[in-house]
């Protein structure tokens, strides 16, 4: 397969500027990079030749000769594929990471890798059929479990029977004929939130509270994966005073077993209030059921206790809360804020922001596209991440 990538750091920097800030005149681009006029023209010409950028029209004059507008080639396409526990989302973006089309459908990840990947590829085919652009430059894939980023395979994922060590990256890249990167779904959601809304802060936590609880960690604008790719596994942090609760991981008193949507649904059922899953918990909250509101508020406090420690340890600029349970009005966030502000240090909470996700289903597909566009724009950085990560 032919992979179109920038040839040098100057080209990568030009593409980044165009991706992040949109079309600009040559003169404006020149302000953003330290290149001589002739060197700038040379690099832009090379990018045009290789199909990575387009030049079109003329910008308003800044005094001298009018400068032409440069933009990422409008036919550049990236794919974001977010495989969740119970759904698949697929999106096509352009090189400026605008979502051109997005399809979401229910799907049980327990059907196994062949069925799920096959269906994801069908959805890609459908979206691509309506698209005028010829090729896809890269695809990012998220899956709901731990991933060896280097190998592109799930590693002992608890809720994905049949997927352990399945070559997900190879399966997609063989069919799509482009570079593919695979990561944990919460990591890519964190990257999507960061990229779409929070680029003014370098360090972000994205917490997904659905059936289980997971966290994506962004440091210096990049996903922190940790030594085994297991970073962000806050669902299995021990919380005090619940050693009577057995978690599916086999330990006692894990956060997820107390404050996860699955656990809350079970608790409501026991109390005679019908709830099969985290969405039912949200429904009960929205219907004004006090038991459900109290439960979600208390779950927020338990999560807040864990996040207060993470705030002291990691000092993030923002915490974004997503997942089904984040839709339970403000009850979850209220509990989180209450404990984080009480328990974290004054310095670490001086200007921290705790916000609900506004991207929802799109966080994953956008993050997946960001992940692969980063790889295309900066092959070295991703090679390093692969070398360093699990």
């Amino acid at each position: 397969m032919t992979v179109v990538r920038p040839e040098n750091a100057h080209q990568a920097r030009l593409l980044r500027l165009l991706r992040d800030d949109g079309p600009r005149s040559r003169a404006e681009l020149g302000d953003g990079v330290e290149l001589s006029r002739s060197k700038l023209a040379l690099e832009i010409d090379r990018l045009v030749e290789r199909g990575l950028v387009d030049t079109a029209g003329l910008a308003a004059s800044r005094g001298g000769r009018r400068s032409s507008i440069v933009r990422i080639a409008t036919r550049t396409r990236f794919l974001g594929i977010d495989i969740g526990a119970t759904s698949i989302d697929v999106a096509v973006t352009d090189g400026e990471l605008r979502v051109l089309s997005h399809v979401s459908e229910p799907m049980d990840v327990r059907q196994g890798p062949e069925a799920v990947i096959g269906r994801a590829l069908d959805l890609v085919g459908k979206l691509r059929a309506d698209d005028v652009a010829p090729g896809v430059v890269g695809a990012g894939v998220g899956v709901p479990g731990p991933v060896s980023f280097r190998e592109g395979v799930p590693v002992s994922p608890p809720i994905m029977p049949g997927w352990n060590q399945f070559p997900v990256r190879e399966a997609f890249s063989a069919e799509l004929g482009c570079p593919v990167l695979v990561d944990n779904d919460v990591n890519i959601m964190a990257l999507g939130e960061y990229w779409a809304r929070w680029r003014d802060t370098a360090h972000l936590l994205f917490v997904k509270v659905g059936t289980g609880i997971g966290c994506g960690v962004i440091t210096d604008g990049r996903i922190h994966r940790g030594a085994q790719g297991a970073a962000g596994d806050i669902g299995h942090i021990h919380v005090p005073d619940h050693d009577d609760v057995i978690c599916r991981c086999g330990n006692l008193g894990c956060l997820e077993a107390i404050a996860g949507g699955g656990a809350m649904a079970a608790r409501l059922s026991e109390a005679g209030i019908p709830a099969d899953n985290s969405r039912d918990v949200v429904k009960q909250v929205r219907d004004g059921r006090p038991e459900a509101m109290r439960l979600v508020r208390q779950a927020g406090r338990e999560l807040g206790g864990v996040l207060a420690s993470a705030v002291n340890f990691f000092n993030p600029g923002v915490i974004v809360i997503g997942g089904d349970i984040a839709h339970a009005d403000e009850h979850l966030l209220a509990g989180v804020r209450e404990v984080v502000y009480r328990r974290s240090t004054a310095l670490a909470t001086r200007s921290i922001r705790i916000a609900r996700s506004t991207l929802d289903d799109r966080a994953g597909v956008i993050g997946a596209a960001v992940m692969v566009i980063e790889a295309v724009l900066d092959p070295d950085a991703v090679d390093q991440a692969i070398a360093a990560g699990g």
Copy 2:
């Protein structure tokens, strides 16, 4: 002041190779960078001209013409200055980060910035007087409190009266005439441990258990400082079942108020066992006093509980334990290991290493020198860190 820095990324990469792996032949250097033979020769010549590397002698033949040996200029000097709560350490290193001389003396940081910085500069003068090398290329400084890395000033440091917002970086650079970087002492100790012993892992935690408790966080080989430069402040994480203990920060049940050396010394005194500080606690343990051993072991467990959460959240490859209390034989580490292995996930602890610091007093000065040599070798990376950090 004239700052000698590499002129481009190739030169920086060559200097890094020479720093990390020691002197090498031109041929071996060529294997480590992707440069043509002529371009390589050009960059090495430029580095020699600018006094950054020396060439000398001839390497063993690899078949063709014998290749000359290249090394970081033997007269390159870096300073590491570690200002602790009760001591100052100053060291001079060469460009390969060998400690050429090191002096340590007691000093109370509460004497204020003028007195302490003045004394540190005296010590630098003494060490430099015996040194044949002409100049210092850079100096790194650690202080025992939160630091705004960007501004090079302490920020509301709890145990450093008179230092808040004092221009530490400017005070040193005005006298030394070279670039100076200032950071929290535990951060530079973490960097020193990482550089000296653990470069095979990308993500490291260094925990200092002295009078108080702090943590330095290394991710992808760099210090993670967080949004306000407050990352690693684990001493004020809340631990369960101790809400009757008031911490000096004003909160209840902080780790440091229970497991710090100061707290343990107070606890021993109350029990009629003489102990004024963390060193006395260690002495009692070494004298075989059961109450002291039990106390340190239990402190290890409390610290282990906090670190178990950090392991799930951050997934480090290694945890290094330093500070006075780490000298209490294996009692502290035993408690830490016991709880980390019980409470963290199987994946995150699969190959984690939990080790005692072997650098001791030298961790800080080595880390300070590493910090500034990184800046000299990679101005961009440090500019980014300054832009991103507090």
